[in-house]
């Protein structure tokens, strides 16, 4: 091998580019000359060319293959439209189910007539149903706190976060999703070390006139609104520590 041929030795990439006819004429001539002097590489490159040619022959004339009627643009378009219609049908049935479900929920609500003229009566009612000690298990227990958080965020945006009340000695026990006249609502239940429970309730703002608090039997509801969301903290009326929580919730 002379100095000259060493200098001209094409790279592997160039040899492939030669096989694929992608070298410029000058470089191509140099590669041809080099291959003439290097028979071993030349044989390999010839083999590559032959293989490529065979592949082309094998794959020639796909337009003569037996046609497949499903593979025309018009047919594919029709298939897509049919699928879209089916999806719409499914979506419609979901909406229907939701309406029926919502209607049933609404009737259930009437079984527990809450004096709706009282502010945040729904919060108190929710507390009685879900936060009392004998309440059924939460649908969002602490293991699914992330799901609860996501759900809240989706429905309440910035206001929809699970407050951390650990500073006041309360830890989250779980949450429940509810349906109200104003829209989706949630009741989060917390408990402190002594077993005292409080319920943090939020729902879209309705006709709630202003912030305040009221007693409802043995319960106290402290309520306030911020932007489009109304909040309530429901606790045992005798639980003095719970009275400080709204301030913590508003600031946190």
């Amino acid at each position: 091998m002379t100095i000259k041929t060493l200098h001209d030795a094409p790279t592997d990439d160039e040899l492939h580019a030669y096989v694929d006819g992608r070298l410029d004429p000058a470089r191509r001539a140099a590669v041809v000359a080099w291959l003439e002097a290097n028979s071993e590489r030349a044989a390999q490159v010839e083999g590559w060319k032959r293989d490529a040619e065979r592949l082309r022959v094998l794959a020639a004339n796909p337009e003569h293959w037996v046609p497949n009627a499903a593979l025309t643009p018009a047919q594919v378009r029709r298939g897509l439209q049919a699928r879209r219609r089916r999806r719409m049908g499914i979506a419609a049935s979901w909406v229907f189910a939701f309406v029926i479900g919502g209607g049933a929920g609404w009737q259930m609500r009437d079984l527990h007539p809450a004096p709706s003229s009282l502010p945040m009566a729904d919060a108190v009612a929710a507390y009685r149903q879900f936060a009392e000690a004998d309440a059924p298990p939460m649908e969002f227990d602490t293991a699914r706190a992330d799901d609860l958080q996501r759900w809240l965020q989706r429905h309440f945006g910035e206001a929809g976060r699970v407050p951390d009340l650990s500073q006041a000695g309360y830890r989250l026990m779980g949450g429940r999703l509810l349906s109200t006249e104003q829209g989706a609502a949630a009741m989060l239940v917390y408990q402190d070390g002594s077993g005292a429970r409080v319920g943090f309730y939020l729902r879209p703002r309705g006709r709630l006139a202003g912030d305040g608090q009221r007693r409802d039997g043995d319960l106290l509801a402290q309520y306030w609104s911020h932007r489009g969301t109304s909040f309530a903290l429901v606790s045992d009326a005798a639980d003095a520590a719970a009275r400080a929580l709204p301030r913590l919730l508003e600031n946190g």
Binding site: H16, D51, L55, A59, N61, P62, N68, L71, T72, V76
Partner: protein, 174 residues
């Protein structure tokens, strides 16, 4: 304002279908699976639309859509096989399905034994005549990878050719 892409016109698309079928046949295990791939690619293409100013670019794009569909399908199949194995007592080590079109008997010994990635690349470069850059885009890999994969594919094919000399004359693909 980004204009909505114009819908792909059927005639342009129609003309490219044989080549899409051919590309799919080099990837899929059988003709039916290949045509399913083409259908998926066409669905995706028609749903997304493409700015058809250069027919060559459209073709390369369709190859990439089809290849993407194949990769997705392949992954799903692998995952499914893994799950299925959990439930089956016997240890089935099934070899990859032979490609009957690019069969060893049809004079290009071993093409079917290359990896799908290698087959796809050889088809795009040697048969479809795509430039390296276009092939890289279609397969979603850098040009450097195109070159090294091309080198490995050609050497592998050559090695198998030397092991198994062709037993019949060239046959066009049916």
């Amino acid at each position: 304002m980004p204009a909505r892409l114009p819908p792909l016109d059927d005639e342009t698309l129609h003309a490219l279908i044989p080549r899409l079928r051919r590309f799919a046949r080099s990837l899929a295990s059988d003709a039916a699976a290949a045509d399913d791939l083409v259908q998926t690619a066409l669905e995706r293409a028609l749903t997304r639309g493409f700015d058809v100013r250069e027919p060559a670019a459209l073709q390369a794009w369709l190859f990439s859509v089809l290849y993407r569909a194949f990769v997705d399908e392949h992954r799903r199949a692998v995952r499914w096989k893994r799950i299925a194995r959990l439930f089956s007592a016997e240890d089935e080590a099934s070899p990859p399905p032979p490609d009957r079109v690019f069969d060893a008997r049809t004079s290009l010994a071993g093409f079917a034994s290359l990896t799908p990635e290698q087959r796809a690349l050889l088809m795009l470069v040697s048969v479809e005549g795509l430039a390296y850059r276009e092939a890289a885009d279609a397969l979603g890999i850098p040009v450097g990878t195109v070159m090294s994969r091309l080198s490995r594919a050609r050497r592998a094919l050559r090695a198998m050719q030397e092991e198994t000399p062709p037993t019949s004359a060239l046959k066009a693909l049916r």
